[in-house]
């Protein structure tokens, strides 16, 4: 028979068990409450899709074409009323505390109706992830509680994340490249804070956000070790909005230019400055910055995969409906065998996209993943059922202590091994590539099946194609994500491998 040691050694061969069967490993550890919670979240998302998104999606898209300066204030207000902006913020920080992986399922639901509007809801969580991954729970607590307050008062408070610059897109997503980038967003340390100059572009929901999680650099020549992240409030002196981009699709969700001119940001709004990171035995400062960026994209890339899956599903559902109602060559399209084969392919594409983002979520729930702590049964049930008043009065003050910060640092930074970081990062890229490629693919297939009808805006199909293309670009182009997948789950086994070195 096989000894335990031999078994472990065999399972460590490629494909490594630990990286290949994330769901199998994660599921036995998950609290059962997550299932019920997830079902409720999906049901609510379907209701929101049916009652809010579907009736207006095409009209908003058309209006935004007619008026490229359109901003989705009404949608933001609706999403706020429905509680979407606090839904996945932990109760610890004043949110509803629905488990974070459930967000992916909600994203798929909303995106199957309109991915532009799904972005109006979920770009906010890109900002949430940026703030949470910084480990500055004191400032996170302050900003997130403002979001909760905004929900109560009917004054939406949402968060955007600003990283892309006019001359640096791919470079800022990858710490290996950032030192070669042509950056402009410079943060100079001054007494009591920082003065920021520069600009950011393509910032989703920039114009309508209250807070911006801003990534800037204290040394533009060596940004990989000199990255600083701020929480900046709209209206801060020296922070203005520039161009509102005219995009091909996802018209409901604005992409903004953010301009910083001698913008003073006090120290209290610094989420993290890499120069003051606590030293780590496992990672250099550069590696710590990379870990931070990866923590963010490990959450957001599977989410984009879910956006893509939702689009793939919307396109499939539109084509299915058309095929079931339209006669071609004297019989219903749905009764042509070639159509049945196409619909089966489209259905398969949706499932592949979904399986990919779900598996990435499970990877995030394993040890070393950002969801792991909150999915520990004891903590999960405590945070779920402890009365809010206790959280607010007893736990909340603790979040502002050094001890709390130290604990979060231990969990976020030290507890994650390099191998665990590779697993979640690789899966995040894989989920992003698969989901978004499926979104584009199904949109193309829907148009081919629908012909003339598919071209018309009022029939809904062409919008899926326009919307889907952006998904292959943002959150790291699919080309960058392929290299990241290679580096983390393939190339790691070969010492001679070098990436980003041509």
């Amino acid at each position: 028979m096989i000894s335990l040691k031999e078994s472990e050694s065999l399972l460590d061969l490629e494909p490594r068990f630990a990286d290949s069967f994330c769901s199998l490993q994660a599921m036995p550890q998950l609290p059962k409450g997550m299932l019920k919670e997830t079902k409720s979240a999906i049901a609510l998302a379907r209701k929101f899709s049916n009652e809010v998104i579907k009736p207006v999606a095409l009209e908003i898209d058309r209006n935004a074409h007619a008026d490229p300066e359109y901003l989705p204030w009404d949608l933001v207000k609706k999403a706020n009323e429905w509680g979407f902006y606090t839904m996945f913020i932990p109760r610890l920080f004043g949110g509803q505390g629905v488990n974070m992986p459930a967000a992916s399922y909600v994203i798929e639901e909303l995106s199957s109706a309109c991915v532009g509007i799904a972005n109006v809801v979920f770009v906010h969580y890109l900002g949430v992830a940026g703030i949470l991954a910084s480990g500055n729970i004191s400032l996170a607590n302050r900003v997130f509680r403002e979001v909760a307050e905004g929900e109560k008062k009917g004054k939406p408070c949402i968060i955007s994340l600003a990283i892309t610059e006019p001359n640096a897109g791919t470079d800022v997503e990858e710490n290996e490249l950032v030192d070669r980038a042509r950056l402009n967003c410079y943060a100079e340390k001054v007494k009591g804070g920082y003065i920021v100059n520069g600009s950011k572009i393509f910032i989703s929901m920039g114009h309508v956000s209250t807070w911006c999680c801003l990534i800037a650099y204290t040394d533009l020549k060596k940004p990989s070790e000199n990255t600083v992240t701020f929480a900046v409030k709209t209206g801060t002196k020296g922070f203005t909005f520039g161009k509102h981009e005219d995009k091909m699709g996802q018209k409901a969700c604005p992409a903004s230019e953010l301009i910083f001119e001698d913008c003073f940001i006090p120290d209290e709004y610094v989420l993290a400055d890499s120069r003051t990171f606590q030293s780590s035995k496992k990672r250099s400062t550069k590696a710590l910055v990379e870990q931070y960026i990866h923590y963010v994209v490990e959450v957001t890339r599977p989410a984009v995969g879910a956006f893509g899956t939702g689009v793939a599903r919307g396109a499939y559902e539109t084509a299915l409906k058309f095929a079931s109602e339209t006669e071609v060559g004297g019989k219903l399209l749905i009764n042509h065998e070639w159509v049945q084969a196409m619909l089966a392919d489209m259905y398969k594409n949706v499932i592949l996209g979904r399986l990919s983002y779900v598996e990435a979520n499970y990877a995030n729930g394993l040890s070393g993943g950002i969801y792991h702590l909150l999915q520990l049964k004891l903590l999960y049930y405590y945070l779920k059922y402890v009365p809010r008043v206790i959280l607010d009065r007893l736990v909340n003050p603790f979040l502002n202590t050094k001890m709390a910060r130290w604990l979060f640092h231990k969990f976020l930074v030290e507890a994650q091994s390099i191998e665990e970081q590779r697993r979640v990062s690789g899966w995040a890229s894989l989920a992003k590539i698969v989901g978004t490629d499926m979104g584009v693919k199904n949109s193309q297939m829907a148009l081919e099946m629908m012909g003339q009808a598919g071209l018309r805006h009022d029939r809904g199909a062409e919008k899926f194609l326009r919307d889907s293309k952006l998904l292959q670009i943002y959150e790291g182009t699919n080309q960058l994500n392929r290299i990241n997948l290679f580096a983390n789950l393939i190339g790691r086994s070969f010492n001679q491998v070098r990436v980003f070195e041509e």
């Binding site: 058309r62 074409h65 007619a66 892309t164 001359n167 640096a168 897109g169 791919t170 470079d171 490249l177 070669r180 980038a181 042509r182 572009i201 393509f202 981009e245 005219d246 995009k247 091909m248 699709g249 339209t326 006669e327 071609v328 060559g329 004297g330 070639w338 159509v339 196409m342 584009v440 193309q444 148009l447 081919e448 099946m449 012909g451 003339q452 009808a453 598919g454 071209l455 018309r456 805006h457 009022d458 062409e462 194609l465 326009r466 293309k469 952006l470 292959q472 670009i473 943002y474 182009t477 699919n478 080309q479 392929r482 290299i483 980003f500 041509e502």
Partner: protein, 377 residues
């Protein structure tokens, strides 16, 4: 295009290229805003003045009297800059081809020949539909004065700007459909607002509702499918030419951008994965050029089985163009998705052009049908 074609048709290539550079390029983005912006009437007038709407019209009808090869050269060069005008020309020629096929040359010459008014020079047509696939919704009734049409017809390209439209309709008791010409100023006809579409925004379409609208029979009753197929096969080479032009435009913009944009410390063209994208695009463009030239020759010279060559060319280049324009955006990253550049428009236009002449899968099935049973041609 092959050298022989290139030499013979150089003047048409120059004409189209110069027209595109001078008249289309400067306002491409503005023109693409239609129906939310103004329609480029003045460009159409200029296109009419230089004869772009009469390329295949016989000289005795006031046209230039050229064949499919000249048309392909023109469409390819226009589409490299902006495919919308090529879409207008395509629609007009498709309608003309059907009328020729149905023996309506004299009639056609009477209504469009020697016309200086661009609107009269154009004939609207349902160019994204093969009427044999989806039963026409118009019904024709014969009376003592001729025919009247009733019903609603969707997505009539140029229906909002042309004076006449060629439309398919059913006559009770007939198996097949029949083509009729209608005057779009007829009192019994109402037009929808311009339809907002995926691509070719400046080649607009409308829905038409006809109530006792007078119509002129084109060809014989029930003979529409035969004329459509004949015209469609010839025009497949024009589809291929448009896609080739779109591909060339997308490749050129991607190539230029990749030599200017820096990422990772040098121009992005130096990254081999991106260079591979460009390499694939370059291969596809070269193949497209060869396919367009060979198809135009085959159609022009009526090679054996030219119909199959033309159908295959349209289908294959449409697939290539949709793939290439997707990569064309990808090379430009976020910029490629924005209207400041031309890539997003080409991505939309390629998918729109792919839908010309009917459902893609049905066209593929027709292709194999013709291979199995040559009589189907």
């Amino acid at each position: 295009m092959l050298t022989i074609i290139k030499n013979e048709l150089k003047s048409f290539e120059d004409l189209a290229r110069n027209f595109a550079t001078k008249e289309l390029m400067p306002n491409r983005r503005t023109n693409d805003r239609y129906p939310f912006g103004a329609f480029y009437d003045e460009v159409l007038t200029k296109a009419n003045d230089v004869g772009l709407f009469g390329v295949t019209l016989p000289e005795d009808c006031g046209g230039i009297g050229q064949g499919i090869a000249a048309l392909s050269v023109i469409l390819e060069n226009l589409s490299a800059v902006d495919a919308s005008l090529a879409g207008i020309i395509f629609t007009n020629v498709m309608a003309q081809e059907i009328m020729f096929s149905a023996g309506g040359k004299n009639f056609l010459c009477n209504i469009v020949g020697h016309n200086t008014d661009v609107h009269t020079a154009l004939i609207a047509f349902q160019v994204y539909l093969n009427p044999a696939e989806i039963k026409p919704s118009l019904e024709a009734i014969k009376n003592k004065d001729g025919y009247i049409l009733n019903g609603k017809i969707e997505y009539v390209v140029l229906g909002g700007i042309a004076r006449h439209a060629l439309v398919p309709a059913y006559i009770k008791g007939n198996d097949g459909y029949t083509f009729f010409l209608i005057d779009l100023t007829d009192k019994g006809l109402t037009k929808s607002e311009p339809i907002f579409s995926l691509g070719l925004h400046a080649c607009p379409a409308v829905d038409l509702t006809l109530v006792n609208t007078r119509a002129t029979l084109i060809g014989k009753e029930g003979d529409g499918a035969r004329h459509f197929e004949q015209a469609s096969d010839r025009m497949c080479s024009a589809v291929a030419a448009m896609q080739c032009g779109i591909m060339k435009g997308a490749f050129q913009e991607a190539l230029s951008y990749s030599q200017e944009r820096f990422q990772g410390g040098w121009e992005i063209i130096n990254w081999s994965a991106l260079r591979m994208l460009l390499a694939n695009m370059a291969v596809q463009v070269k193949i497209a050029e060869m396919v367009v030239a060979a198809t135009a020759l085959a159609v022009e010279q009526q090679h054996p089985q030219w119909e199959k060559s033309a159908r295959a060319a349209a289908l294959h280049l449409s697939e290539l163009a949709c793939k290439l324009t997707t990569d064309g955006i990808q090379v430009l990253g976020g910029n490629g998705y924005m209207k400041d550049y031309g890539q997003e428009k080409r991505f939309r236009d390629a998918k729109q052009v792919q839908a010309l002449l009917g459902l893609v899968p049905m066209r593929k099935l027709n292709m194999i049908g013709a291979v199995i049973n040559p009589k189907m041609q």
